[in-house]
């Protein structure tokens, strides 16, 4: 459950990160690939080496989708409908992996924001990313 204050905080953080979406997204993906090598199996069609254009483009896509969801969290199911279909029927990524990317994303945020990534912000962000992942997996079965 997200309070109004938490929703505002989440929206504000992602608005700030939108200009560096590619950098944050690529960083999160790299961390996930390094810590959880099984996740690389979903990316055999891309060049996922550091600084590759594929990695930056893909990272940017992911962060922008997360940022868009943050604009109006109460409408997540509507906003994410196309991505739900994509993940359920085409990508079919095991939803357990969503947690791994979420954790990697939180670490990226911690590196980027340092002390500004307060415990309260961290809690709010963890809750938001969990909700995001849950909505993304809704059409799986």
């Amino acid at each position: 459950m997200l309070s109004k204050r938490e929703k505002d905080l989440i929206k504000e953080i992602w608005e700030r990160l939108t200009p560096v979406a590619a950098e944050i997204g690529a960083d999160a993906l790299l961390r996930m690939f390094a810590s959880y090598p099984g996740t690389k199996t979903y990316f055999s069609h891309l060049d996922i080496s550091p600084n590759s254009s594929h990695l930056l483009a893909h990272g940017k896509k992911i962060v922008l989708a997360i940022a868009e969801g943050a604009q109006d969290i109460s409408q997540l199911t509507v906003t994410l409908a196309p991505l739900q279909t994509l993940h359920a029927y085409q990508l079919r990524i095991d939803p357990r992996n969503f947690k791994l990317l979420s954790h990697s994303m939180l670490v990226s945020l911690a590196c980027y924001l340092g002390d500004e990534f307060t415990p309260v912000a961290h809690a709010a962000m963890d809750k938001y990313l969990s909700a995001f992942a849950a909505v993304l997996a809704e059409k799986y079965r």
Binding site: A34, V107, P119, A123
Partner: protein, 147 residues
């Protein structure tokens, strides 16, 4: 036996030499209690855990953070036998403290985030991965004595 690469050994020792136990330990425990509030069930005797501010300034929480760091340091000093190093601690957490072992990684994740915030760019994906592996070994060792 865990196989550590030279990079991983050096990296783990390096991380622990750079972080301030007095800051990182308390910060990680507080974060765990704030981000995953159900973990507070194990700290009923700690007094005021009512909100984030109370948790962050709670002296018992801070003291416990340092205890955790001292435990982790033992693992850093015995990287080739973390399993044996934590046998007693595992029994303690299982039989006396009765902590659900699924919670161990929650603290581990918070520790990774606190270290990341401290080290910034130095906490590269490769360094981070070595740290996650270390945490996984610690957690696995703490789980061993649960029956």
């Amino acid at each position: 036996m865990v196989a550590w690469t030279d990079f991983e050994r050096v990296t783990i020792k390096d991380i622990f030499s750079k972080i301030d136990y007095e800051v990182v330990g308390p910060a990680a425990i507080s974060r765990c209690l704030i981000v995953y509030p159900w973990t507070q069930r194990y700290f009923a005797g700690f007094g005021n855990l009512y909100n984030a501010a109370a948790i962050t300034s709670n002296p018992k929480v801070a003291a416990h953070g340092k205890v955790v760091m001292q435990g982790l340091e033992k693992a850093v000093k015995n990287m080739d036998n973390i399993k044996a190093t934590f046998t007693e601690l595992s029994t303690l957490h299982s039989e006396k403290l009765q902590v659900d072992p699924d919670n161990f990684m929650l603290l581990g994740d918070c520790l990774a985030i606190v270290v990341a915030a401290q080290l910034g760019k130095d906490f590269s994906p490769e360094v981070h991965a070595a740290f996650q592996k270390f945490l996984a070994v610690v957690v696995s060792s703490l789980r061993r004595q649960y029956y």
